[in-house]
């Protein structure tokens, strides 16, 4: 019997994972369903757009600027070995728009807004505020989950393009002003190599990541049990699960799109 125990353990973990995936998918389907049913609550939606979007601008600016700057510094080091410093701008621009912009922005917003969604919904669940919505004949999926998921999908592409732009500005400051690359060459190489599809596909990825981080945050919060400790657990799990899913789906999306 003892020999079977590791298998039981792995099996139980696997079943729990399937359970969770199923629950998440069911909540997603309910969200889609309630998205198209009146009443449409624009006030709650705008509150979430502001929270996810406007509230995340500072962290996006900082992330973008420093990522662009450090990327310029590192790639300059590599390119100068064979005299290709002129490619620094276009390399940074491509990396940012295709990859770093959407992924890093989404991870930062997961930490900021995804965790807050889990904590807020979790607290509402354990203090019976979710039940109170049901009792007052208001569907909590429609009232709580739909606006948050919409805000995630709508705001992440916008934040990403801000991060892209600020990142390129950051790399320009480092590349042209600190490292002395000719500014005309720096810009012209970006214009030459960067295509609109790089930007638009990066934004598409960001919309998808926005869906993931808001859906996971809401899911973990919505099914919280076990009081204050449970809320803490839900928050941590939301951030970890959303981050992992963002990184994993990034690979899949990149393989499909580019």
């Amino acid at each position: 019997m003892r020999l079977l125990r590791p298998f039981e353990y792995v099996g139980a973990k696997f079943l729990a994972m399937l359970d969770e995936a199923g629950e998440l998918l069911l909540l997603f389907m309910q969200t889609v369903l309630w998205l198209f049913r009146p009443p449409f609550r624009f006030k709650v939606l705008f509150k979430q757009l502001e929270f996810v979007g406007v509230g995340s601008i500072n962290v996006t600016l900082l992330t973008g600027a420093f990522t662009g700057g450090v990327f310029a510094l590192q790639s300059y080091h590599g390119f100068s070995l064979f005299g290709a410093e002129s490619l620094v701008g276009s390399t940074v621009a491509l990396a940012l728009t295709r990859e770093l912009g959407p992924v890093l922005t989404s991870l930062m917003v997961t930490g900021r807004a995804g965790s807050a969604m889990a904590a807020e919904l979790g607290t509402m669940r354990v203090t019976e505020q979710v039940d109170a919505l049901y009792v007052m004949a208001v569907n909590p999926v429609q009232y709580l989950v739909v606006p948050r998921v919409l805000a995630g999908i709508a705001m992440l592409p916008i934040l990403t393009i801000i991060a892209d732009f600020v990142g390129i500005v950051g790399s320009y400051v480092v590349g042209v002003h600190l490292l002395g690359i000719n500014h005309g060459i720096f810009i012209s190489k970006i214009v030459e190599y960067l295509e609109f599809s790089d930007i638009s596909m990066g934004m598409t990825k960001a919309a998808f990541f926005g869906l993931i981080l808001s859906m996971v945050g809401c899911y973990k919060g919505f099914y919280t049990t076990g009081g204050a400790e449970g809320v803490g657990r839900a928050t941590t799990q939301a951030v970890v699960l959303a981050s992992v899913l963002i990184l994993a789906s990034d690979y899949v999306l990149t393989a499909i799109m580019f």
Binding site: E128, D131, A137
Partner: protein
Amino acid sequence: MSAKQNIIELVDIHKAFGSQQVLKGVNLNIPRGQTTVIIGRSGGGKSVMLKHMIGLIKPDQGQVLVEGQDIVHMGDHGLNQVRRRFGMLFQDAALFDSMNVRDNVAFPLREHSKLSEGEIKQVVAEKLSMVGLSGVEHKLPSELSGGMRKRVGLARAITLEPEIILFDEPTTGLDPPLSAAINRLIKDTQERLGITAVVISHDIEGAYEVGHNIAMLYLGEIIAQGSPDEIRDSGSEVVQQFVHGRAEGPIEVI
């Protein structure tokens, strides 16, 4: 008794959470226009039973009849129609902590009525004065005391003028004078509005005071139901031990 006299009927309700069988065949009738108090031990499934009445929890087996309609198999739409006849006061009031008192009390009106903001303001003030509060409209729930939160919760529960109000442990955790005040509030509200009230409690004095009927839940079943006098004179040893608060008897305390 027929469905005309009973507004809610629970028929043979079974409910388990995991391996724990909480309700084992509950049969209970809630008579119209009266207050029914359900007493029983802490953690004995009273709240679970109450949540069955409004479809927050679905039974594993059995029927929940509201005005003769089974709500167990109802869809969202039908259930929402039924729920509009209910108000509920939760244990910790369950006020939305992102909204101030006025928005909390106005919430059901904004969702389900076409009143103008001016009218809503008026109704909110009226409901708050019914529960003995004024001038707190702009406070957040976190700035209120426990007793005040329950009052606001009650004001929110009565804004849509429901026929039935469910009270989940309205006096638990309050000091004796405040408990008495809340009990009086329940009694007044029930009499003034002529509604049906269902109150969960383990405060036996309060139960005698507010209840027209008392039912006792023990080990997942309703073991006694009757008027306060009938419960006080009940021949059941379990009921006697409970209402007199004795440590010795058939109820296993530890």
